[in-house]
């Protein structure tokens, strides 16, 4: 018993993704919400790597790589936005940032 069913990896990925969604839905701090997004991306990456193993192809790794790069870019811009929002509104509560309403 030294082999893991591939579905375990995918199940883990699904669980992590769901936890990321839960964080996105139930957390109010912008930074935490942002981190939930990163968690979801990581879960998807795990799926990519698993599929790469499944198909014995390197392409999944490339997708994961691009996801990482895009996540890094996203983090840079997103955190800059968070900084600006905090400067202007002195709050990090996502429910209070709703000036697009009305």
């Amino acid at each position: 018993m030294s082999a893991i069913p591939i579905s375990w990896f995918l199940a883990l990925s699904a669980v992590l993704f769901a936890l990321g969604v839960a964080g996105f839905l139930f957390r109010r701090n912008i930074v935490t919400v942002f981190m939930s997004i990163e968690l979801m991306l990581n879960a998807v990456n795990l799926s990519f790597i698993t599929f790469s193993y499944y198909f014995k192809k390197v392409d999944g790794h490339l997708f994961a790589f691009f996801v990482m790069v895009v996540a890094a870019a996203e983090a840079a811009v997103g955190l800059a936005i968070i900084l600006t929002v905090f400067k202007n509104r002195a709050t990090l509560n996502i429910d209070e940032v709703d000036s697009m309403k009305n």
Binding site: V21, F24, V33, I94, D98, M100, K101
Partner: protein, 619 residues
């Protein structure tokens, strides 16, 4: 061989003058404008000499312009003997007229003081497009040039854009040409559908095997295009008005080159026409009717440029007759000789107008023979050439056409001969009214034009005299076109020559020997005179039959009814409806990101569920 250099040179001249001309002195503008065209002429000459004897077309591929499905269109230039003739005419006459323009436009500022460089920039642009038209190896490249020269024609007719009649004339030319271009476009669509290509080579190779109905349709549609560009009935109305532009423009664009594009295109399409006799005959009929019709109008015009404008329409009709009776090379032959003597007539009339400080009405001229002798003698050369007096240029080409016409349909020969007489009459009427008798105009001491204008006149005069003999186009083009057996017939030649001489004689009697006779004759045929003098009221008929209904219909039905009522109503209704729906839906837009995220989650869950329902569980 770097064919692309030939059109690119004038384009470079256009770009330089068009972009920076405002800052240049006139001398600098001249250097770029004339230099580029003369260089293009020189390069064309060098290319043609190098390519001689040019028995097979020489093609250069530059790039793939359009690639869509099975449709591939390359930007190709190709040269064969027909193109060679056209190249020489366009660049040669173009160069002469450019040089002439230096003198003619010397005192020209035009609106906004930008006239000088603008004029030469447009002229160079015209050269570019005309050369593209001539060099193009497929119908679409030809069409690019075709549209481009139309644009330049529009720009140059409206050169004095602060004058209402000039802009109107420009618009008229543009709009009438659209009708022709529409036909041309349809012809191309149909051609692509039938042959799958627009390349001359490919299309012409398939043409003999195609059904006659297809070829006839394409031929007639192409003819519509040619009628528009070459000012044939019923689309000729724009050309007389186009005289609103500067005279060199009339000479270059509206006499020597652009208007002959239709003839060129029909001659180029001979493989289609030879297998579509109906379309070919239609060309001949349109041509001869136009020739006669325009000649009668030309007899009674008093504006010197209008006379030559109608003359141009008439002579273009001759070329169509040539093409239409299957004597393609004769048509091209006349195209060339016509370019010589008509350019000369226009330039000469320009010289007269220049001498008189802008006067165009022949009734206020007269007796200018001694005052501007160079102009007089060169215009005399043109006159005998166009009248078909042997052995001058017009004689050869006109004779070739009429002989061929006689073989095809004798009535065309006879109408053509009568027209030849009329032609001789109105041209010499113009010359006699201008140069003989006494000066009827106001003060303003007439002066001879500067050498820079006279040199092109003299060169063109020489060409008008001996060009027909020197350049035997039918022999040169013989390998290109299907052979047409024409029997020399001295009787017919004598008749048409006599008609021309008779025309000159009548003109001499009416306007030199006994002035005043003309008016009394006009008086006795009052009705006919009024009809012809007013150009058969064609403009008025068009106005009443087409323009007014279209304008009124647009105003009432399309604007008030369709646009304001239906479309605006729809738009406004859509707005109202959107606002109504929005006021309901905006409750979803709570501004709360987390609720949005819930929507996204709901959506993705539903998406998965639906996809399972649609395609069933995978595997």
């Amino acid at each position: 061989m770097q064919l692309w250099l030939i059109p690119i040179l004038p384009l470079a001249g256009f770009l330089i003058n068009g972009l920076f001309g405002r800052r240049f002195s006139k001398a600098v503008v001249n250097v770029f404008a004339i230099g580029s065209v003369v260089l293009a002429f020189a390069w064309a000459l060098k290319t043609l000499v190098a390519l001689a004897p040019l028995n097979t077309p020489y093609t250069e591929h530059y790039f793939t312009w359009i690639q869509s499905g099975t449709f591939t269109l390359n930007w190709d230039f190709s040269v064969d003997r027909l193109t060679a003739v056209m190249l020489m005419i366009v660049t040669g006459i173009g160069s002469l007229i450019h040089i002439y323009s230096i003198g003619y436009m010397a005192h020209e500022h035009g609106p906004n003081h930008g006239g000088y460089y603008r004029f030469f920039a447009y002229l160079n642009l015209f050269m570019f497009f005309m050369l593209t038209l001539v060099l193009g190896a497929n119908y679409l490249v030809l069409f690019v040039g075709w549209e481009g020269v139309g644009l330049c024609s529009y720009l140059l007719i409206g050169f004095y854009f602060d004058k209402k009649f000039a802009t109107n004339a420009g618009n008229k030319a543009f709009i009438v040409n659209r009708i022709g271009d529409f036909g041309f476009s349809l012809a191309m669509f149909y051609m692509f559908r039938s042959f799958g290509s627009l390349d001359f080579g490919t299309v012409f190779k398939q043409a003999p095997g195609a059904p006659e109905a297809v070829l006839t349709t394409i031929g007639l549609l192409l003819l519509v295009g040619a009628c528009g560009k070459s000012a044939q009935i019923p689309l000729y109305v724009w050309l007389p008005d186009a005289m609103a532009g500067p005279t060199p423009v009339s000479a270059l664009i509206h006499a020597a080159t652009m208007v002959t594009a239709g003839v060129y295109m029909c001659a180029r399409s001979w493989p289609i026409y030879t297998h579509a006799p109906v379309a070919l005959h239609a060309i001949a009929v349109i041509g001869v009717v136009t020739a006669f019709f325009a000649a009668t109008i030309g007899m009674l015009q008093n504006d010197i440029k209008k006379v030559f404008a109608y003359s141009t329409v008439s002579q273009l009709g001759y070329m169509f007759v040539g093409v239409g009776v299957g004597a393609f090379s004769a048509g091209v032959y006349h195209l060339m000789t016509h370019a010589f003597f008509k350019a000369l007539l226009f330039l000469g009339s320009g010289s007269v107008i220049h001498a008189l400080g802008g006067e165009q009405d022949m009734r206020r001229m007269g007796g200018l023979r001694e005052k501007i002798p160079w102009t007089f003698w060169t215009m005399m050369c043109a006159g005998v050439a166009i009248a078909g007096v042997p052995p001058f240029a017009g004689f050869y080409s006109k004779d070739a056409i009429l002989l061929a016409a006689n073989q095809s349909a004798p009535w065309i020969y006879w109408v053509g001969t009568i027209t030849a007489g009329l032609t001789a009459f109105y041209v010499f009427r113009a010359i006699f009214m201008t140069f003989f008798g006494t000066y009827r105009g106001e003060a303003h001491h007439p002066h001879e034009s500067p050498p820079v204008m006279l040199v092109p006149l003299v060169i063109l005069a020489l060409l008008s005299l001996v060009g027909g003999y020197l350049f035997k186009i039918p022999e040169f083009l013989a390998p290109l076109f299907p052979a047409l057996e024409v029997h020399e017939n001295f009787t017919l030649m004598a008749i048409s020559t006599a008609a021309g001489l008779l025309g000159i004689l009548v003109a001499y009697i009416l306007y030199v020997a006994s002035p005043g006779t003309a008016d009394s004759i006009a008086g006795s045929f009052k009705g006919l005179y009024t009809l012809v003098y007013n150009k058969y009221f064609v403009d008025e008929v068009y106005d009443a039959a087409i323009v007014k209904p279209v304008v009124n219909g647009s105003r009432t039905v399309l604007w008030r009814g369709a646009d304001a009522g239906l479309i605006d109503g729809l738009v406004n209704g859509a707005g109202t409806a959107a606002r109504g729906v929005g006021s309901v839906l905006r409750r979803m837009q709570s501004g709360n990101i987390r609720s949005y995220a819930t929507w996204v989650l709901l959506g993705s869950v539903l998406l998965i569920v639906f996809s399972v329902m649609l395609w069933g569980p995978l595997q």
